[in-house]
């Protein structure tokens, strides 16, 4: 059985710069893996039976493949990057479903809560399993981290009807508080 773990890249909150003149927040560092998604990776790894495959999926831009280094180090078998502009929950769940169908994954894992602290909308929309919230993800040792840095991240393209790719929620404006 193949497990698909959805990893969300989050901006590195320690590395933000705020520009008052432009009214924007700039992300300076690389994006990091959502700590709740580490629990999802851990749950998938614990649920893995002999012969199963754990595939970590990131939906985002080209530089988000760094987010997959941690799942690789923890023990994921494959890492997949789905290039898509920042999407809303509806499009994300459609992309994840299509990716799971294309990769042949029977189980989709999501983190227990999303960044707002609620059972994630994408998890329910995509009929996925949420990892338990009290799971402690394993810390990979240095050798695993070094090996993970060399692993290849696969690129994935999914065919979706045009309507499934249209985001329903649109960011109308963004301004400093």
């Amino acid at each position: 059985m193949r497990h698909l773990v959805c990893c969300k890249p989050l901006p590195d909150l320690d590395n933000l710069s705020v520009s008052l003149s432009q009214g924007r927040v700039f992300e300076k560092g690389k994006r990091k893996l959502n700590p709740f998604d580490e629990k999802a990776v851990e749950a998938a790894l614990r649920a893995r039976q002999p012969g199963d495959e754990v595939i970590a999926l990131v939906v985002g831009q080209e530089q988000d493949q760094e987010v997959l280094r941690k799942p690789f180090a923890m023990g994921a078998d494959r890492g997949v990057l789905l290039l898509a502009p920042d999407v809303d929950g509806f499009v994300l769940s459609n992309l994840v479903r299509a990716a799971a169908a294309k990769l042949g994954c029977e189980k989709i894992w999501f983190g227990p809560v999303n960044e707002f602290g609620e059972p994630g909308e994408a998890a329910i929309r995509a009929d996925g399993t949420t990892a338990p919230a009290d799971l402690a993800p394993r810390t990979p040792n240095a050798l695993a981290i070094m090996k993970a840095a060399r692993k290849i991240v696969e690129r994935l393209d999914v065919e979706l009807p045009e309507d499934d790719r249209v985001p329903r929620l649109i960011l109308r404006s963004e301004y400093l508080a």
Partner: protein
């Protein structure tokens, strides 16, 4: 159902009207977050000049035009509310998720193929008949406004802990 056609067309037709609130019962009575949300939705309905309906629990109060206790999907397909609000109170997740508002909202949004927003504050853009969902990001430094321009109903999880007491 082919009545949702977003590519090249708008779904926000005038047949979608009124504001609906998903309410839940807390030990037999309408819960406090639901009451707060109904009060806020009443203010929005006054701005829009439309009715306020409640789905999920029987609410007989001034300002609520009708209340329905039935499957939310059947309710939406029949009544076609323009705006559908859910409350998103931080509370221990119950064992039975079938009535838990965020889960109900996500399932409904997926079946209706519409967007589900999350808001700390909700507002209305009356000229465009849009629900403006405002939330804070980056630790509170940034305010983001989301709208759902084309898909109906416009669904939102509202952080009711930030609403004034009803």
């Amino acid at each position: 159902m082919s009545w949702i056609d977003l590519v090249g067309g708008e779904q926000a037709t005038p047949e979608w009207r009124d504001i609906a609130v998903y309410a839940w019962l807390d030990e037999g009575k309408i819960s406090v977050p639901s009451r707060k949300l109904i009060a806020r939705a009443r203010a929005l309905a006054d701005q829009l000049g439309c009715y306020l309906k409640v789905i999920g629990a029987e609410v007989k109060g001034p300002g609520v035009s009708a209340s329905f206790v039935e499957d939310p999907l059947a309710f939406v397909e029949r009544e076609k509310p323009e705006i559908l609000l859910f409350d998103d109170t931080p509370r221990p997740v119950p064992a039975d998720l079938s009535a838990y508002p965020p889960v109900v909202a996500a399932r409904l949004a997926q079946k209706l193929r519409t967007g589900l927003g999350y808001a700390h504050e909700i507002d209305l853009d009356v000229s465009q008949r849009l629900l403006v969902m405002r939330s804070r990001a980056y630790g509170g430094k940034m305010i983001r406004e989301y709208v759902c321009p084309a898909a109906r109903p416009q669904m939102c999880l509202v952080e009711t802990a930030l609403l004034p007491d009803a």
